[in-house]
């Protein structure tokens, strides 16, 4: 088997693989930078909670549309995710509960509700599709949907970059000079939900967050500056998508999990050989004079 047959031919031959690849690249462009910011705000697990919170909305969309319909489920997921984000924010601002605690309670409620709704109507196969996604079934319409979300994400991030970074790094300062930090916080949570909704057709509600957080952790091991981290994360997500699709095609694995596992392998290698990684501790280099 030639290199061409191994790495390129599948994408030449099959449209669904091409669409899946483009979806991965687009998802990475949006989710990568969002994941980096999420991690720097020490909210890695909030991403996870949000991905569960999206489920009941998607399920209601699924019921109303009477099947797997991306617009209906996407809209439902968006509404559900945003409600959980807003409610958790409200609870943590008006009670002694911290934001992670209120997120945990809301997303568990949300997840249970979602599974219940899906099981009321659909078969187990449908539930599996919602939970784990069907990246090889992405059609042109779904691709536009993902592309639109990626564009909105990148443009919004570019516009609110400065206040968002200040809000992450020194919230007190932003409050003092600009008055309102929570506006940017909610805009950012909106982007998180939006990207999870984009990811769930491809990877399912449970694993959409994988393409957000794994590339972000990889980026933190390699890059020093924030823009560097964002670029690394987006590139890692795209590469994971490509390798994951190739591997799943040749070995007949399920695509979604293979993509996430590829990202995990990259994470593992980065842990060993990255510039701030374990290997560097084991092989100490002589210190400098000053």
């Amino acid at each position: 088997m030639t290199v061409y047959q191994l790495f390129i031919l599948p994408f030449v031959e099959y449209g669904f693989l091409r669409r899946a690849l483009i979806a991965c690249v687009a998802l990475g462009l949006g989710s990568g930078p969002v994941g980096v910011l999420l991690m720097l705000r020490r909210m890695s697990l909030v991403g996870d909670a949000m991905s569960h919170a999206v489920l009941p909305g998607a399920a209601i969309g699924f019921l109303i549309a009477g099947g797997l319909s991306l617009p209906a489920m996407g809209l439902g997921g968006l509404v559900a995710g945003l409600s959980v984000a807003l409610l958790s924010g409200l609870v943590s601002r008006s009670t002694p509960l911290r934001e992670d605690a209120s997120f945990a309670s809301f997303y568990l409620t949300s997840l249970a509700l979602g599974v219940l709704i899906v099981s009321l109507r659909g078969s187990n196969i449908d539930l599996l599709h919602v939970l784990f996604g069907t990246i090889l079934a992405i059609d042109a319409k779904a691709l536009y949907f993902i592309g639109a979300i990626t564009s909105i994400t990148v443009i919004t991030l570019a516009v609110i970059y400065r206040p968002l970074v200040v809000e992450c790094f020194d919230p007190g300062f932003l409050r003092a000079v600009a008055g309102q930090g929570s506006l940017y916080h909610f805009l950012f949570l909106f982007l998180v939900v939006l990207n999870l909704v984009a990811g769930f057709q491809a990877l399912g509600t449970l694993m959409a967050v994988g393409l957000m957080m794994l590339p972000a952790t990889v980026a933190q091991l390699w890059a020093r500056s924030l823009p560097g981290m964002m670029l690394t994360a987006a590139a890692t997500a795209a590469v994971s998508g490509y390798i994951g699709l190739i591997v799943s095609y040749h070995l007949g694995f399920a695509s979604g999990p293979t993509i996430i596992l590829t990202a995990s392998v990259i994470y593992g290698c980065s842990l060993l050989i990255g510039p701030s990684a374990a290997m560097r501790r084991l092989l100490p280099r002589p210190h400098l004079t000053g």
Binding site: F169, D170, P171, G172, V177, A178, G179, S225
Partner: protein, 251 residues
């Protein structure tokens, strides 16, 4: 625009109804350099936050005169700053030009060179590209002072700026404070070092929840007053009755 004092009229700030600052009246004259001294829990940081308009008053009022919220530069005690955030020293200092650049406008060349000068004047020449994670605590405090320099604030509030900072850094940063004073800015600093206050701060407010003394440092920092401040009860009185001193600011 004529400079006007910051008047405090019978200010009480309470947490859970227990007063942290109790019936404080007085004024900070424009261009004054005041130290706020007092034991822990005396309401010093609380007072600064109230001056920032960051806390509601239980009674009384604060008249800031012509000082707008954006005219205030504030250095919190233990800023909730993420010191591992991947941001460069230069970018942190440039945040001081927020009033010009805001959230969305471009940062001007002038601000960039001003930031470079501010860094030089706190002794960090050439640190622009360093990440803040690589700085020591003292160096980071210098960066925050550089950011304050750039903010060009009329009213500067410093909450224990020299705690856990070595003598040389303290000396350098006190020079910055002196320069602000010479520029005619109003500076209010919470401090613990009595000798430092006597040497560098013309005005002192001695606070022990209630104001103990407020005026020229020589007349307020007497051993008599200091002893009285030290005797402040640290604990809240859970059975305290409602304070019924009439609210004089309403008159």
């Amino acid at each position: 625009m004529s400079p006007s004092s910051i008047h405090l009229q019978d200010v009480t700030i309470a947490f859970d109804r227990h007063p942290a600052v109790h019936h404080l009246s007085g004024s900070f004259v424009p261009g004054s350099l005041t130290a706020i001294v007092g034991p822990n829990g005396a309401g010093k940081s609380t007072l600064l936050r109230a001056l920032m308009n960051d806390l509601p008053l239980a009674s009384g009022r604060i008249d800031r005169g012509h000082v707008m919220p954006t005219d205030i530069g504030y250095l919190p005690q233990a800023a909730d700053i993420d010191r591992r955030f991947p941001i460069t020293v230069g970018d942190v200092v440039l945040l001081g030009s927020w009033r010009q650049a805001g959230a969305f406008r471009a940062v001007s060349e002038g601000s960039v060179s001003e930031a470079r000068r501010a860094l030089s004047s706190v002794g960090l020449t050439g640190f622009e590209q360093r990440l803040i994670g690589t700085l020591s605590a003292g160096q980071f405090q210098r960066v925050l002072f550089a950011r304050l320099l750039l903010q060009n604030a009329k009213l500067i509030l410093l909450d224990e700026p020299f705690t856990a900072i070595d003598a040389r850094t303290t000396h350098d940063l006190l020079q910055v404070v002196r320069r602000w004073h010479q520029d005619g800015r109003t500076v209010i600093a919470v401090l613990h070092d009595v000798e430092q206050v006597r040497a560098h701060f013309p005005q002192t407010l001695l606070l022990a929840r209630e104001p103990v003394a407020w005026g020229p440092t020589a007349t307020t920092m007497t051993s008599d007053y200091l002893m009285r401040a030290r005797l402040m009860a640290e604990r809240w009185d859970e059975t305290a009755a409602i304070c019924d001193v009439p609210d004089q600011s309403a008159a």
